[in-house]
């Protein structure tokens, strides 16, 4: 069943000189629950903008975006924020952990925007999620004391703590070395599989994209399918590393 549906989506901005810059043009994309899709592209191709649109952090200037069969264009800013918190989890390239907060506090932070029992039980839920990503011994560590891989694992735990329907990962291995990146991706896939979460990965790394069920290429704001021949096999990539 289609959960994310983008039809004819465009995103453009007005430049200071009055001209228009098209960042995304006529994007058509569908993703089902539990599916893993990857979008590859060079820097500046519009990957992050696409992710922001899907994650309701930004709004398209053309086309229709439906989430679970409901159009999102008519939603108020407040409703968008609430839907975003309840539906999406974000993993950023630079981790974006809250500084000077322990791993537990970081993971518990999204639950402050939930309601009822989730707010009151946020610390227990955060500890449980950290345990799932193998950081049960680092609960009180500040981000500054964690390695890059550990920080990204905290970020993954944080993105999953509200049990989102969709996890949006923007270059999740971009700041990690190959080995650590591979380990993090293994763990990310394992976690989303456990929860049945849809995973949308934005990457410039073909080996990361190869892990997805379907792959797309974004080039100058235009989305196209990626054939299997363009991708390295995951097995080959793992053995190489």
């Amino acid at each position: 069943m289609t959960f994310i549906s983008l039809a004819g989506i465009g995103r453009s901005v007005r430049l200071p000189d009055g001209s228009q810059l098209d960042i995304l043009t006529d994007i058509n994309l569908e993703a089902e629950r539990g599916e893993h899709i990857a979008v590859v592209g060079r820097s500046g191709s519009g990957k992050s903008t696409l992710l922001n649109l899907i994650g309701l952090l930004d709004s398209p200037t053309a086309g229709v975006y439906e989430l679970d069969g409901r159009a999102t264009d008519a939603l108020s800013a407040r409703a968008r924020a609430r839907l975003r918190g309840a539906t999406f989890g974000f993993v950023f390239q630079q981790f974006n952990l809250l500084p000077r907060r322990s791993a537990t506090e970081n993971v518990a932070a999204p639950l402050l925007y939930a309601s009822g029992r989730q707010v009151w039980g946020r610390r227990a839920a955060a500890r449980e999620m950290l345990d799932r990503v193998g950081l049960g011994e680092r609960l009180d560590y500040l981000p500054e004391r964690l390695s890059g891989g550990e920080q990204q694992r905290v970020a993954i735990a944080r993105s999953m703590v509200r049990n989102p329907t969709v996890l949006l990962a923007d270059e999740p291995t971009g700041a990690l070395d190959v080995d650590t990146g591979s380990t993090v991706m293994d763990m990310l896939q394992e976690v989303v599989h456990q929860f049945g979460t849809t995973l949308v990965t934005i990457t410039h790394d073909l080996s990361v994209a190869a892990r997805a069920d379907r792959q797309f290429r974004l080039d100058h704001g235009v989305l196209s399918g990626l054939s299997a021949a363009d991708l390295p096999s995951v097995t080959a990539q793992r053995s190489a590393s």
């Binding site: 992050s48 407040r78 924020a81 974006n96 402050l112 925007y113 939930a114 009151w120």
Partner: protein
């Protein structure tokens, strides 16, 4: 409820994480609230000191004196005293005293000396808020003593020796027909080296024949409700006009209560005005730091927006951080002000006795706390607006 708890938890977490910055930004607010509340409390204590001091000389508010001067003859003390006491009885004045000033000869060991003496009724001590250093003030039973009782000033006591309540000192009063008087109490406060004594009117008329060098007739003092001053004065002079023909009659209010009310007004508004101004300056400090910090936290705010934080939530959280911080600073400042104001040794510092130390003014404390909170809210609005206006995408990339 849960949302409110979550917002408070988030705001408190921010304060905790940025405690050094928060503390530094709150110094101004702390000092302003501390200054405001402690000066207000000190003002109350100062007012009480002035009030007590003035009540010792002029009487409590409202004290009305009535005097009768014969137009053509010397004053007839007996006649005037009887007429004045009739007024007290007729109008059932609860607190009153006849006051007669005179000079008496006190035969101290080694020397005789003229000392100033005032004969009064027992109520005079309460009416003038007289404080005792040692012993006691007159009681009604002292009228029946076989020797006059005296309440004296420290210099008087120094001339007769020390005070022992079990063996009170005595002093011989009078020249040609002296009488032995007993010192039953010593007044608190400095008499600047001039010995002074109080004795009861009845005892004075029975035992002591002092000189009245200024020809002062007896004076009636009455402590009445301030709103009845006019009525009592008119009634007393009206009656005395009939009972004391040929006398000039004066009735006037002698306490300084109404002037003190004006002083109160100046203190109140002056101190508050200065305090609010200082608080406003403290608020500017909080605003400055808040603005700088919110710009440093743009990425974090963007991340929180990705968690589902609405604009309203971001606004309230940033605002609450400021409000929580200034409220805590205000509460701490009030606590310090209370500790300071209630523990200062006023009598030693000011060398003036104080009978009723006023409690810490609750109104000033509440006002200081609310003002600090309000300043926090005002100082938090601008950073909160900046935080809300930050674009989420830019904030995350920042």
């Amino acid at each position: 409820m849960t949302t409110l708890v979550a917002i408070l938890a988030e705001a408190w977490s921010e304060i905790r994480v940025h405690k050094l910055r928060v503390i530094l930004s709150l110094v101004g607010v702390f000092l302003a609230v501390f200054g405001m509340t402690s000066i207000a409390a000190a003002g109350d204590i100062g007012r009480q000191l002035v009030a007590e001091s003035s009540e010792r000389s002029g009487g409590r508010p409202a004290t009305v004196t009535v005097q009768a001067y014969p137009l053509f003859t010397s004053p007839d003390t007996e006649l005037i005293s009887t007429a004045l006491r009739d007024v007290v009885e007729r109008y059932d004045i609860r607190w009153s005293s006849l006051v007669v000033d005179q000079q008496i000869v006190a035969n101290f060991p080694g020397q005789s000396e003229y000392v100033q003496a005032r004969s009064v009724d027992a109520a005079y001590g309460t009416m003038h808020r007289l404080l005792m250093e040692q012993g006691r003030w007159f009681a009604p039973g002292d009228v029946d003593r076989y020797a006059p009782a005296l309440v004296v000033s420290p210099s008087f006591l120094a001339r007769v020796g020390g005070f022992d309540p079990n063996d009170p000192p005595t002093v011989r009063l009078g020249g040609e027909s002296p009488v032995m008087a007993t010192v039953i109490g010593v007044l608190k406060g400095d008499d600047f080296g001039a010995p002074f004594a109080y004795l009861l009117n009845d005892a004075a008329s029975r035992w002591v024949s002092g000189d009245n060098p200024y020809g002062q007739p007896p004076m009636l003092e009455m402590w009445v409700p301030p709103e009845q001053v006019e009525q009592v004065s008119a009634a007393a002079t009206g009656d005395l006009r009939r009972t004391l023909p040929g006398h000039d009659l004066y009735a006037s209010r002698v306490d300084t209560g109404d002037q003190l009310a004006q002083l109160d007004l100046v203190l109140n508004y002056g101190v508050r005005g200065i305090g609010y101004f200082a608080l406003l300056l403290g608020g500017v400090g909080v605003l400055n730091v808040g603005l700088v910090v919110v710009r440093q936290r743009i990425r974090e705010i963007g991340v929180r927006r990705s968690f589902g934080a609405t604009s309203g939530r971001v606004f309230i959280t940033i605002l609450l951080e400021s409000v929580c911080a200034t409220a805590v600073a205000g509460a701490l400042a009030i606590g310090c002000a209370v500790a300071l104001v209630l523990n200062l040794p006023y009598e030693q510092i000011l060398s003036v006795p104080i009978e009723d130390l006023p409690p810490f003014p609750l109104q000033a404390a509440v006002e200081g706390f609310l003002a600090a909170t309000a300043v926090g809210a005002l100082a938090g609005i601008v950073p909160a607006i900046v935080a809300v206006r930050a674009k989420v995408i830019d904030a995350i990339r920042y």
